[in-house]
Symmetry: C2
Subunit: 473 residues, 2 copies
Amino acid sequence: MSRETDDLTAVAEPLEDEDLEDLALGEDYALNAEFVSDVADALDRGDAERLRELLSALHPADVADLMGFLSADAREELIPHLDPETLAEILSELDTEIREEVLEHVPSATLAKAIGEMESDDAADVVDDLEDDKRAEVMAAMPEVERAAIETTLSYGDETAGRLMQREVVAAPQFWTVGQAIDHFRKESEELPELFFDVYVVDPAYKPVGAVPVSLLLRSGRQTPLAQIMEPVNEITVDLDQEEVAYIFDKYHLISAPVVDGAGRLVGQITVDDIVGVIQEETEEDILALAGVSDAGRDAGMLGIVRSRLPWLLINLGTEALAVTVIGAFQAEIAKLVALAILMPIVSSVGGNAGTQALTVAVRAIAAKELNAHNAMRIIGRELSVGLFNGGAVGGMLGLGAYVWWHDLRLAIAVGLAVLANMFVAAIGGVVAPIVLDRLGRDPAAPSPIVVTFMTDFFGFLALLGIAALILL
Amino acid sequence: MSRETDDLTAVAEPLEDEDLEDLALGEDYALNAEFVSDVADALDRGDAERLRELLSALHPADVADLMGFLSADAREELIPHLDPETLAEILSELDTEIREEVLEHVPSATLAKAIGEMESDDAADVVDDLEDDKRAEVMAAMPEVERAAIETTLSYGDETAGRLMQREVVAAPQFWTVGQAIDHFRKESEELPELFFDVYVVDPAYKPVGAVPVSLLLRSGRQTPLAQIMEPVNEITVDLDQEEVAYIFDKYHLISAPVVDGAGRLVGQITVDDIVGVIQEETEEDILALAGVSDAGRDAGMLGIVRSRLPWLLINLGTEALAVTVIGAFQAEIAKLVALAILMPIVSSVGGNAGTQALTVAVRAIAAKELNAHNAMRIIGRELSVGLFNGGAVGGMLGLGAYVWWHDLRLAIAVGLAVLANMFVAAIGGVVAPIVLDRLGRDPAAPSPIVVTFMTDFFGFLALLGIAALILL
């Protein structure tokens, strides 16, 4: 957890700095394109003084953002202009790929020092991004205690509570009073995390038995025993998946929660600002998976992007090739009535769209844990009704259009029925595919679009051409 | 802001309650389907005692979740079994449509009392959901001060900082010391919000000049002046859009921020747990918009869902009808070479998928403010290269397949070139459409898929049939 309000919006600053801030940030706190271009120009000219001036207006989070806007070359030129302290502050703000790139340019000794100043979760993230050689160097240059802490954090699985938590935590024994706690915090001020929101009350085995929000501590009388004002806690075990952690925080509106090991002992805490990042990350994964993309990162190169997209395009090519075999089986019919070739793509397209709609809604409901065995049948039934209704509406429109265009009632009926049937199939595929994948313990977002696209293409062609062959030719 | 850890996970509870909790919630804190079915059964039997027992195991957030799983009928039956206190607690947890339904069944006097106990942002949300008649009744039954506060909150635009903020805020004058502040908070304990994270330091005009995190207050010496330890604040104005507020919280890792009126005076605060909801809401909007759905709500009926999907399906029908006019212009060619009818859908489909990929990435980059005038040309250039590369790969594969199948080199070349050209067009459409819409001040997520689908269908047909007409027939 790190909250670093900097001098960015200090209210009582000299005017000159405010002007520079206005240049740097828009009213929406996003970096202005002109400012980024100014930095790029100064880098081109090698104008170190102007660079220092421009960068001085920025919060570390904005410097990290700036790095994302610059080209890889410009970024590399910028690194030497950042003083080691700023560098340390921005490391935890950078996107992974950009961070990996930046880390290559920072000496191990500087890194070891910078990492020592970070909170344990941020420190472990940075160490994790180092290449093997450099990681060994950096770890060797760190004090034993910090090294052990980072090694422990890294021993937890990726995307678990253990990796997300900070080991810095404020705990107090059950028998303390408010006054004892406050006196202790004043005396040990140096040892405490920079910011904390809850004091965890622990039993002699260091198991959390409750939590006292700091604001409650502040307004309670000094003689009040902690045990009297403490609130129950939602414990989180180190191996819980970060998506589950986010669900718990969101559901119960938590600000922080204690993390316990297998034996139930307090080993760290997770704070809500880390959860904001997790929620962004997990929803982003779903959005991209639904579009058939994996995350290539903010400043991925062309090849990185190709890698994140080509596999799905090739799979799509394969399923599409399979779907059009249906058309191959009806070549004679198409040659006789080319109107079928015109209507075919419409039938498969509206089916595909209806399937995507049902699918997206189902995937989101599963992610929000709003779909379980109790209401699954009701939701499937509702989707099928919607499929029939929308299929009737769209099929009717298209049938009418076909009749007006070709004056062929049987063709109009064929295409109308085909749309109706295909949108029913789309509804089934859209809601059943993600539910089944979820039951099988798979991610419902990524493979579902493949299944649904194939179903609506294959069946769309089959419905139109099959019905046409039966009633028309 | 409301954080209500309840007796849900109390560590030292009687065993019986723990058993009931295990029945209610899975390890992931989601409601078990069996538990929901038990509740539904008890409702069917009218077994009030069993219901009370089952509900006693639940946190208000879980009761709200339970309501979402139940059918509308079961929900209506459940309401009378909830005591007014629980009802008050779950009101702010319910989804809007379900809340509107529930509110119809609660007497105005009970509602007025319940709303009085909520924080101002939650209270305003509930009042906003009431039907006109009932709203007038409820407001009339409330004390003048509370009514005025709710009216002020409701006077701010939807989805602005003013609507999101709570008016309850802890402020201290610049000249106070830590000790004076703590003594004051102890004495006025009753007047303070239930939880708070920052004390805002204000000048005589009530403008915030800094903030002292509560944990810092706790560990600083009593003689320390607040002005000495206060940190700069990121002020938020009442009319800022909630999406912008979420961006600021996320970027600077804020826990709370002061909200000021047009004159810069402190009028409330926003806390990070409200932001978690906003982020969920805004990303959800994007996901659904990209799939051509509007949010029908967790428990929307069939007609609600139809309304949220049919418009986009009809628009898609229209654009698709326009796109196939291209096929109509090449009927003679298709009749001569039916292989074209088989290949056509493949060319438009892979183009559509490539366009969706580029589009989704661009929409997300715009939402994250990672795309501006400085890097737009670079990102467009990168997308075009990716389009050409992927187009070459997929076009090559398809051309090869066509050659193996039909032993027709010119057909293979035609389809390969058509894919290459269409994927280049898809890349242009996918990245340019959202950028242009954003520049025009429109939401880039909703209309972009329509544009891109039309482009890749129209151009996919045109490229294949046009090239085929030129080199084949």
